[in-house]
Symmetry: C2
């Protein structure tokens, strides 16, 4: 969606960096942050960040609703988190073993997350989901893992959204069910009977490019019942939603506790960390699985995580993000109605998605986002967004002004 | 190997932390840094680090020869690296896309590593080796990957040293050859004929608990020839040795260039980063594979990596580490002879290993290490060690004094 000034003119520093990057990075950038997947005008490169604001390399400031796609839960440069990180960095980070903060953080995770008797720490969400699957197999002596069709659990062969470089054997023991469909889960479990190691499930249905769906409590309970009956592990993939919906784990909202859970993203407010939490029953299995990484004992991200969790507890982060998300949602509803544009909002208020009615090829969503970006708010047309605790009422109101420009652009498209 | 004071008395803060950790972390700690695998008296927890020195939580200072098992290549708190990291952190770290430093770093990697036309950045060594295998399969449309028996390539099911939680299918297309054995590699390639995607090989043979072996140049060339003839990818796993032996990649030392290479550990002097570098031929395949992580665009580790590589170039880091490693080796030879103890030193001088002749169960190696630790040097009895550019002649001489105590302990056992 190009406006009068071409993106190249508006984003000339960004364009120059993209030209250089194209030479030395295939496709310009790997993975989910590749701006080639974003509407016209979106920058690829960022110069700085503060709270819920981002500045791109061409100097434009936006109120951000992606939060680095989740990690930034308290806002960039949160003083308590960065002070804790600096204090630990002054002592040591990556040493021959952990610093004492490991124990403080592990105790905090176990105290915060009701199903957890223990934890492991890693670097990527994929490290955590893969470890959960491996631990479930080691603990049950079985192979089959049920995955909801279309759910994202990471970027390695057993679960990657792309099949390039993936062999059939990489998924030989993965079977599929449909999210919120009890019968499909029961049927898949029946097929796997006697060899069912685990069911893995995301906190809510947050597949790209379709309305988000909260988990039906009866569905969540049915997965729990299947796992209990079959002796399998219920794995909650809370990588994306963890610490935004409920500090005890996102399925506390539906009263169902997993055996194993995967966390990452928001756990350390942008510092690289992931975690597996687990029930007593799987403790021994963990000691048999070999899972490690060069930076998994680094102390600075652990200090940042401890400070992040303390702050989220202190201010009731999930409630604050929910309130700001609801303010945004209400404002978007009112503005869209005023412009005669029909939108569908979905998902938890802390992780909202805005879709446009009958929007083939995301033409309307892209127009909305491009115009809103130009007017100062960074929304996403197809992926769930993320609120942070740094978003204030004033930030939401500022973003709604930008959304007003976005809806006007959509209305002009007719 | 207990001396007069029991480790519990000497390490009482460490012991208290281990007791707490045992409750909330299965086995006390995951992976390679678990002190349960170390000789008596070794601490699990560290209070601080500076240059090549470490202080454990009970206040004892050692000259360190593990460098966090590789990452710390310039020494802890290297001023240029930490200044670059701080400058970037003050701007932004984990944002909706990379900072400009990504392009500077990618260009630097491609300029430094002769086989590289492009790079990808990740967090773990395992991310990089797994991406190499997946890219090789995507680029060749084939499945088989040859791995040297006993080589470590990471901690996920296709390559983990433990089979707990691993299914037969996870390794269905992995076949094995013997390091430095051309005939075994040719035979394995023959078996895989028509379906050979890649041969993966470590920079030198650095399997735990046996003498290290440098690559025979004829062996390296034979792997290159097989890959050329079969249209497969030669993957150099340079995670452990990268940036210590040769800044252009460790097989520059034998004149053989890979198609894909995996880096991590030393790349950012302890900040969490990994990289894949690749030849032009595999550029398109990369764009089809989906490989990403929540923190893979974080700017601070990239700024640290750029400063690390600049400094390694400026001071010729590999030559400096080699000189200090040779001083250590020469000193150890002289001391062991003086004590009438027969040792076998192996590996590149920058990554040495010391084994004791006829040392069943590592009784002598453990005694050496425990006594040397008590006297102020942190060695490892079974795993290759790591020099850093922070080791000075005075540090080596200080460590040799400690080694003297170690050899005396061995001689007493003799």
């Amino acid at each position: 969606m190009d406006d009068t000034a071409s993106p190249t003119q508006r984003n000339h520093r960004d364009a120059a960096l993209r030209d250089r990057a194209r030479q030395v990075i295939p496709g310009g950038l790997w993975g989910h942050l590749n701006a080639a997947n974003l509407p016209a005008g979106y920058p690829q490169y960022f110069a700085r960040a503060e709270g819920c604001r981002l500045w791109d390399v061409d100097g434009r400031e936006v109120v951000d609703f992606m939060c680095a796609w989740g990690p930034v839960v308290l806002g960039h440069h949160h003083p308590a988190v960065e002070e804790a990180a600096r204090r630990q960095a002054a002592l040591g980070d990556c040493m021959n073993g952990p610093a004492p903060v490991l124990v403080d953080l592990a105790e905090m995770l176990v105290a915060t997350i009701p199903h957890a008797a223990w934890c492991l720490l890693e670097k990527n969400g994929t490290d955590a989901t893969t470890a959960c699957v491996t631990i479930a197999r080691a603990g049950t002596g079985r192979r089959k893992v049920l995955v909801a069709r279309g759910s994202y659990h990471g970027a390695v062969p057993w679960c990657s959204p792309s099949l390039a470089g993936v062999t059939a054997e990489d998924r030989a023991h993965i079977a599929y069910y449909d999210y919120n469909d009890v019968a499909s889960a029961q049927a898949a479990a029946e097929q796997a009977k006697g060899d069912l190691a685990a069911i893995i499930v995301t906190a809510f249905r947050h597949d790209m490019a379709r309305a988000l769906e909260l988990p039906d409590p009866a569905f969540a309970q049915a997965l729990r019942d299947i796992c209990d009956r079959e002796g399998a592990a219920l794995i909650l993939d809370d990588v994306r939603a963890g610490f935004r919906l409920d500090l005890g784990g996102s399925w506390e909202t539906v009263g169902v506790r997993p055996d194993l859970a995967a966390y990452s993203k928001a756990i350390a407010n942008g510092h690289a960390l992931a975690a597996v939490t687990g029930a007593e029953r799987f403790r021994e299995a963990v000691t048999k699985v070999y899972t490690t990484g060069s930076f998994w004992c680094a102390a600075v991200p652990m200090a940042a995580a401890l400070a992040t969790l303390q702050e989220l507890h202190r201010i009731d982060g999930p409630a604050r993000m929910r309130a700001m998300g609801e303010r945004l949602r209400k404002g978007l509803d009112a503005l869209s109605a005023r412009h005669g544009v029909t939108i569908r909002q979905s998902g938890p208020a802390q992780m909202p998605l805005v879709l446009f009615e009958g929007d083939e090829g995301f033409r309307l969503g892209n127009a909305f986002c491009s115009a809103a970006l130009e007017a100062g708010a960074y929304f996403h047309p197809r992926h769930n967004m993320f609120l942070s605790c740094a978003h204030t009422e004033a930030d939401i109101d500022r973003a709604l002004q930008a959304a007003d420009a976005g809806f006007a652009a959509v209305a002009r498209l007719g």
